[in-house]
């Protein structure tokens, strides 16, 4: 191993170049991007829900990045328009995800805004879709004999309901649902927003 100096200089140079182009320049570019018009910062409850989302590993199965029509039929799946950089201004860190074992969730708040639906589904996904492979999250709920005033009772079909009492959502479940309801990036995007233009390289409108 002679000539170690030039080798290490070259290696460090390549690393520095890659860091510059893949980390620093995009970082500068994205940091100057204002939020998509109409996008609101998360509330305290939604932020708590976001922590529940992270803690329960939702990100391992659900992405938060609808793709453009050239790359995947996400728009026809109802997952919403292709995401742009400014959609994630308030997400630090973003929860883009890489796996799509389940559907994309970036617009779940727009397509399934029902709190009741979300609570039932979190308590027992099979109550809605018998083929669903999503885990149930019963520990976000508790079974009470009688709902106290202010309790949110979850509607559960008979075959999944507890024998006695009612299913009541714990605060964590309500926070999580509040976060899911806030996931709505259906607002129109400015023409100049930073985005991935897919494979559409002939510029012809399709």
């Amino acid at each position: 191993m002679n000539r170690i100096a030039p080798l290490s200089i070259l290696a460090l140079g390549i690393l520095a170049f890659a860091t510059l182009l893949l980390v620093i320049v995009p970082g500068i570019q994205i940091n100057t991007e204002p939020p998509t018009p109409g996008l609101k910062p998360y509330t305290a409850q939604q932020l708590r829900g976001r922590q529940v989302y992270i803690a329960n590993g939702c990100v391992y199965c659900h992405s938060q990045q609808p793709r453009s029509a050239d790359q995947a039929p996400d728009d026809i799946r109802g997952w919403g328009r292709a995401a742009v950089a400014s959609d994630y201004v308030f997400d630090r860190p973003h929860l883009l995800g890489t796996m799509r074992t389940g559907p994309d969730l970036l617009n779940i708040g727009a397509r399934l805004p029902s709190r009741e639906w979300q609570l039932t589904h979190l308590y027992q996904p099979r109550a809605i879709s018998d083929w669903s492979i999503m885990p149930a999250y019963p520990f976000l709920f508790e079974v009470k004999d009688k709902a106290a005033p202010g309790d949110v009772v979850v509607s559960v079909p008979k075959e999944y309901a507890p024998r006695h009492g009612v299913v009541v959502a714990k605060p964590a479940a309500l926070d999580l649902v509040a976060y899911l309801q806030s996931l709505d990036r259906t607002m129109p995007v400015p023409a100049k927003a930073i985005r991935d233009d897919g494979y559409d390289n002939d510029g012809v409108g399709k």
């Binding site: 026809i76 617009n107 399934l112 029902s114 109550a127 509607s155 100049k192 510029g203």
Partner: protein, 413 residues
């Protein structure tokens, strides 16, 4: 390699393996250089793609907002001509003519108010009476677009100078912000321009009250069914791939609920809800949503080609055996009760999804397999184009209950 050769290689303790310096073979260099050149070309191409993407979106945006050269004429063709006809002749006994109509020659506020709120009721144009429904354009056209259309219509059919400005339209929007459609020519003559009198008398609409059970089902749900409004919105306006229900034919809604319940139409969430409903409740929900008149919340969002969508909706693509959407769903996409749902102001994600489902065999509950066959002949681009185009249309004006329905509801209580 033979056994012989291996035997010959006696282990040499002193031997250190090393690599002799050998140049990279030329072909490898060739490929590397060719790939590098290719990469550079690709970089430039994708860069120009990003630019062209931006210009394309900008041009789409400007056509959508009608900022083209002869915007008034284009907006008239796109928004008015399916009913009032390109020459403004209207349709005998159904749609009032614009040509020679006193309404186009009246004060500029008249056309503005009609465009903003629509008309639900009798109206006299010349010596002929009409009793129809015109949609409200307030939710799909901007003040500037309404001013352009208004000026075009008043100039072409009424010979009036361009007196509408976006400011005037904005003022008129404010003036009757919360009102519904005009209840006929008499109300317009009485409120906006008295010179339009005489107009046929307006029969006051008998409001059919929705029973408390249906209201409860819509707004609060039940132990075994989520509230309709929790997904479809407080006014049945829908969002994304949750469809707009307001203004859909009652019988169509009831049929779909029945199909969800029986499994003829596949949707897990709707199956849970529909199985909890009785036939009576399904029918009641249908009647409830049919009568709702709600501003459009749909916007083109799939990047579809609106001109292509308009062509498919109005003329079809007969070479591919695709009839015009409106040849069955009604000449303005307002639907034909009981079988054909209204399409206008429906959310593009929902429309495109349904077309894809029909084409792919996921949904198969249309009469005579009509939609299955037609959707199958549409490309993915065409499906997006149609869905986006339909989202630009004004919402269907709510149908007034017929006198029998009104009396039925009253006696039922």
């Amino acid at each position: 390699m033979t056994r012989q050769a291996r035997d010959n290689r006696a282990p040499e303790e002193t031997f250190e393996p090393y690599e002799e310096h050998r140049g990279i073979p030329l072909p490898v260099l060739w490929i590397a250089i060719a790939l590098a050149l290719w990469g550079v070309v690709m970089l430039f191409q994708s860069h120009s793609a990003a630019d062209s993407g931006i210009t394309r979106r900008a041009s789409q945006l400007s056509t959508q907002t009608g900022q083209t050269a002869d915007a008034g004429a284009a907006l008239f063709v796109a928004n008015c001509s399916t009913c009032h006809q390109p020459e403004g002749t209207g349709i005998s006994a159904a749609i009032p003519p614009l040509a020679g109509s006193p309404f186009t020659a009246a004060r500029p506020e008249v056309v503005t108010q009609i465009l903003l709120h629509g008309i639900n009721g009798p109206i006299r144009v010349g010596d002929r009476d009409f009793n129809g429904h015109m949609p409200s354009f307030a939710s799909v056209l901007s003040n500037e677009e309404i001013a352009r259309i208004g000026n075009y219509v008043r100039k072409r059919f009424g010979g009036q100078p361009p007196e509408l400005t976006p400011q005037l339209v904005a003022r008129e929007r404010e003036r009757f912000a919360d009102r519904g459609p005009w209840a006929g020519g008499a109300e317009i003559a009485g409120t906006v321009d008295a010179s339009l009198a005489p107009q046929p008398p307006t029969v006051p609409a008998r409001i059919v009250p929705t029973d408390a059970a249906t209201r409860h089902l819509v707004n609060d749900g039940r132990g075994d069914a989520w509230a309709c409004a929790s997904c479809h919105g407080a006014q049945g306006q829908g969002n994304e791939d949750v469809p707009r229900l307001a203004g859909l034919p009652a019988a169509y809604i009831a049929k779909q609920l029945g199909d969800f319940s029986s499994g003829r139409r596949d949707n897990d969430s709707m199956r849970v809800v529909a199985r909890a409903l009785s036939k009576r409740e399904m029918a009641a929900l249908g009647r409830y949503y049919e009568r709702l008149s709600v501003p459009s919340t749909a916007r083109p969002s799939l990047g579809g080609d609106l001109a292509r969508g308009e062509k498919l909706a109005l003329e079809g693509d007969w070479e591919n055996k695709v009839p015009a959407c409106f040849s069955c769903h009604g000449p303005s996409g307002f639907g034909v009760a009981p079988t054909f749902p209204s399409l206008s102001a429906q959310h593009p994600s929902y429309t495109a999804r349904q077309l894809a489902d029909w084409a792919g065999g996921v949904r198969s509950n249309s009469p005579v397999q009509m939609m299955e066959k037609i959707s199958g002949r549409l490309s993915a681009e065409d499906r997006r184009a149609i869905a986006d185009y339909l989202a630009t249309l004004p919402p269907v004006p709510a149908r007034k209950p017929t006198p029998e329905e009104a009396s039925n509801a009253n006696t039922a209580r």
